[in-house]
């Protein structure tokens, strides 16, 4: 199977590969997939004033999975948390020209984004900051 140039580029030059310390207050971590399925993505966002100032990923998976998560981190940076929620897997498919058999890689990336934000929200509830004490 031939890979698109963009997939190859992300695979060879992954953007934002690495990890933030999980316990930091303003870091949200999403881990999706399973080793048995051949894909595990860890995606992290660092948030300041509702804006994602930095993002990092680590991925176990094929080239398309690596590219999807690498691209996701690129897109996340500079977005507000709300905007990040709107990233759709179909946009990733389009940008990377993923074939049908690789669409699940983009789905996983979208899931990872949502999981990372959910983790951040859990740590830092936005609407009612006081709620943290009652939990």
């Amino acid at each position: 199977m031939a890979y698109s140039d963009k997939v190859t580029d992300h695979y060879n030059n992954p953007r934002n590969m690495g990890s933030f310390p999980k316990n930091e207050e303003n870091v949200g971590t999403g881990m999706v997939g399973a080793p048995e399925c051949g894909d595990v993505m860890k995606l992290q966002v660092k948030v300041e004033d509702e804006v994602i100032v930095d993002a990092k990923f680590k991925t176990f998976g094929c080239g398309s999975a690596i590219a999807s998560s690498s691209l996701a981190t690129e897109w996340l940076k500079g977005k507000t948390v709300e905007q990040a929620y709107d990233i759709k897997n179909t946009e990733i498919v389009k940008e990377l020209a993923l074939p049908p058999v690789k669409i699940h890689c983009s789905v996983l990336a979208e899931d990872a984004i949502k999981a990372a934000i959910a983790d951040y929200r859990k740590k830092t509830p936005q609407e009612e900051p006081e709620a943290k004490d009652t939990e």
């Binding site: 199977m1 890979y3 190859t8 695979y11 992954p14 590969m17 990890s19 881990m31 999706v32 997939g33 399973a34 080793p35 048995e36 399925c37 051949g38 894909d39 595990v40 993505m41 860890k42 680590k58 991925t59 176990f60 998976g61 094929c62 080239g63 999975a65 690596i66 058999v101 699940h104 789905v107 996983l108 899931d111 999981a115």
Partner: protein, 404 residues
């Protein structure tokens, strides 16, 4: 050193220049139809076919009259299973085979199941070996065929064919062996192995693609198959169709070379294989050998590299032609059924790479492959959340994964 490097010999092999040389005249001036019995073009072609048949028969210690030419091992497997099933349908309807067989055997068996036959798929041990006792216990008075491969195409494990052959003989059940990966690589003698039908092809042994053979024992017992093709009654009626003379000449020459060079080639390749394995093991931790440590083809190495995915590895070492048990590209997204049958976890099956050394690989190439594999695995492990977790001491088996 020329790149890309080819190290995928279980898939196919290049034609040996000596084989090509032998074939060439049969494309041009010696183009006759071997079935033309009334002119010199036909005689010439027929003579060439019979010389080749002899060369092939010699390699497997058979009589030349016991060989039928087919388009390849897939056709031979199909003809063996479906042909025996149909020919002996009055005797019984049960077939015994194994979970690790090639798709050509398994899917032929599945197709027979749809036609009312019953099939037992034997499991294998952790190294991929069939237990002959399992074959014995699976035999019923309805069993008409046992089909077990000589050597596995993914993991290279060599089955105890002679023991199974003895059981088949004792129980008077026909025994077919898919020997595609073994013929020309390890000694094969149809009598000592006790096989009644045997499939193999030319392109795995430096011959041309598109030609294979089915060995059919002529006596004690006489193995017969119902033909699948109707036509001119070639190959004693078992396989109609004009013989592809150049391909057959090439098949014969390839077998002749194997017979002369197999022993030294096997030594050279197993030395290279050990060098490859040792070199990789020296540079990387958490690697696992798939298949039997000693009962395996001399040119086969199959390794799982924990925490990295096979297809991503192949992408990283794209100037080396290898194969992976990760079926990330397949429609089902299921990893290798052969590795799964061995009890290899799905995670490690996704992480497996098959190395198939061949006649034209050099020590220099092996060393290059070692360095590229180590480099790529290390790079992907840096990128792998699983490796990070393992290094933190997290037991990956105990993690509750958010399954997708």
């Amino acid at each position: 050193m020329k790149r890309p490097i080819y190290m995928d010999s279980h898939s196919t092999t290049p034609i040996d220049p000596r084989v090509l040389e032998a074939m060439l005249p049969y494309f041009t001036e010696k183009f006759g139809n071997s079935a033309s019995r009334n002119h010199s073009f036909g005689f010439e072609a027929e003579e060439a076919v019979e010389i080749a048949r002899k060369q092939i028969a010699q390699l497997i210690h058979a009589d030349q009259k016991e060989l039928i030419f087919t388009s390849g091992a897939t056709e031979s497997d199909n003809l063996a299973l479906k042909g025996v099933a149909e020919m002996y349908s009055e005797k019984g309807n049960h077939i015994i085979t194994a979970m690790t067989e090639h798709r050509a055997v398994i899917d032929s068996a599945k197709s027979l199941e749809k036609r009312g036959y019953s099939v037992t798929y034997l499991s294998v041990d952790k190294d991929g070996l069939i237990n002959p006792d399992d074959v014995r216990h699976a035999i019923t008075n309805k069993t008409i065929l046992i089909s077990i491969m000589l050597a596995n195409n993914e993991i290279g494990t060599i089955n105890p064919i002679a023991e199974i052959g003895a059981i088949a003989k004792e129980k008077e059940v026909l025994f077919h062996c898919d020997a595609t990966q073994g013929v020309g690589k390890i000694p094969v003698d149809v009598s000592t192995l006790g096989v009644d039908l045997m499939s193999f092809s030319a392109h795995k042994i430096y011959g041309p693609k598109g030609i294979g053979a089915l060995y059919l024992r002529r006596k004690a017992p006489r193995a017969r198959v119902t033909p699948m093709l109707d036509g001119g009654g070639h190959e004693r009626g078992f396989r109609s169709g004009t013989l592809p003379v150049p391909l057959i000449v090439g098949f014969g020459k390839a077998c002749e070379i194997c017979e002369q060079e197999m022993e030294s080639e096997a030594m050279r390749l197993s030395t290279l294989r050990e060098r490859l394995h040792a070199g990789i093991a020296k540079g990387l931790d958490d690697i696992y050998l798939n298949g039997h440590p000693t009962k395996r083809l001399p040119h086969n190495l199959n390794i799982s590299f924990a925490y990295v995915e096979g297809e991503a590895m192949l992408m990283g070492i794209n100037d080396i032609a290898l194969s992976s048990g990760s079926a990330c590209t397949s429609a089902t997204l299921e990893p290798s059924y052969v590795l799964r049958a061995l009890g290899v976890g799905s995670d490690l099956a996704h992480s497996s790479i098959r190395f198939g050394l061949g006649r034209f690989n050099t020590e220099e190439e092996v060393d290059y492959v070692i360095s590229q594999v180590i480099k790529t695995v290390n790079r992907l492990r840096e990128m792998s959340p699983l490796y990070e977790m393992a290094k933190e001491g997290i037991n990956l088996k105990a993690v509750q994964w958010a399954s997708n």
